[in-house]
């Protein structure tokens, strides 16, 4: 059954701000096997001009709802069958790098739905802002719903 088009433009319920810790960054960097010192060495990060250690470019996936539980897109009314889902695209666009100590707010919305062959493409956009309300990053995630078009 096709996705429910009424959901285009819908926003996820606002979650609590997420505090990014040095340990979160260290653990993520270790998991991707990356020993860049700016992820773990505060002195090196400060020497490079950052207030604290820097997060890898794809780190925010762990702090956004795209990280696994699927968040509000699991609502049955959307009619997204997770058994038919594959990850289509992912893009991170940064206004500034994420650093330890950031307290980030994620605002996620369904940007678009499109048909491609027998599949549907669901585009989720997450806007990430810091405690001062300044923009940090935009994350675009395209989910492929196989055979539901």
């Amino acid at each position: 059954m096709p996705l429910n088009r009424d959901w285009i433009g819908r926003k996820a319920p606002q979650g609590e701000p997420v505090e990014i810790t040095r340990n979160d960054i260290r653990r993520f960097a270790a998991a991707i096997g990356d020993d860049n010192p700016l992820y773990t060495d505060r002195a090196a990060a400060r020497a490079a001009g950052y207030p604290d250690v820097v997060a890898p470019p794809t780190f925010l996936i762990s702090a956004s709802t795209g990280g696994g539980d699927g968040g509000f897109i699991r609502d049955p009314d959307l009619r997204l069958d997770f058994g038919m889902v594959v990850h289509g695209e992912e893009t991170f666009a940064f206004t500034r790098p994420v650093v330890a100590g950031d307290v980030l707010t994620m605002e996620q919305r369904i940007q678009d739905m499109a048909v491609k062959g027998s599949n549907e493409l669901l585009t989720l956009v997450t806007e990430v802002t810091d405690a001062a309300g300044e923009h940090v990053a935009s994350i675009t995630n395209v989910i492929v719903s196989r055979g539901t078009a």
């Binding site: 270790a30 998991a31 991707i32 470019p57 990280g67 992912e90 893009t91």
Partner: protein
Amino acid sequence: MPSSSPTFAEVQVGTEIPAREFQLKRENLVRYAGASGDFNVIHWNERIAKSVGLPNVIAHGMLTMATAGRLVTDWVGDPGKVLRYGVRFSRPVVVEDDDQGATLTVSGVVEEKNDDGTVVVGLTATVGDNKVLMGAKAVVRL
């Protein structure tokens, strides 16, 4: 991390980032699941992966993306200089339960030089003869 980062002046359209190989083993998938919070069973349960038609457990697309991205962050040195990074996932990376796992080969080439001091790096990521990422690009400030 290289001993010296490339400068905007010395980088040209066509400048290549040499290919590197990365091993993705089951252990890497388990670690990534924990660090990312993505516990989808197709990334760790062979029985369920096969029951939904996959040849075996597959790597998280985001782990493939993160691993390919290391080519760029190691090249530039400072990962905070990556302004944009995007990929399309074209094929799953199948990870057998052995000591080798999957071998991801990643190479890069500078595709554009912009007036604002940024360059666009195009990445190629393959397992065997198959491209596992398409349209993989990073915008980097040098």
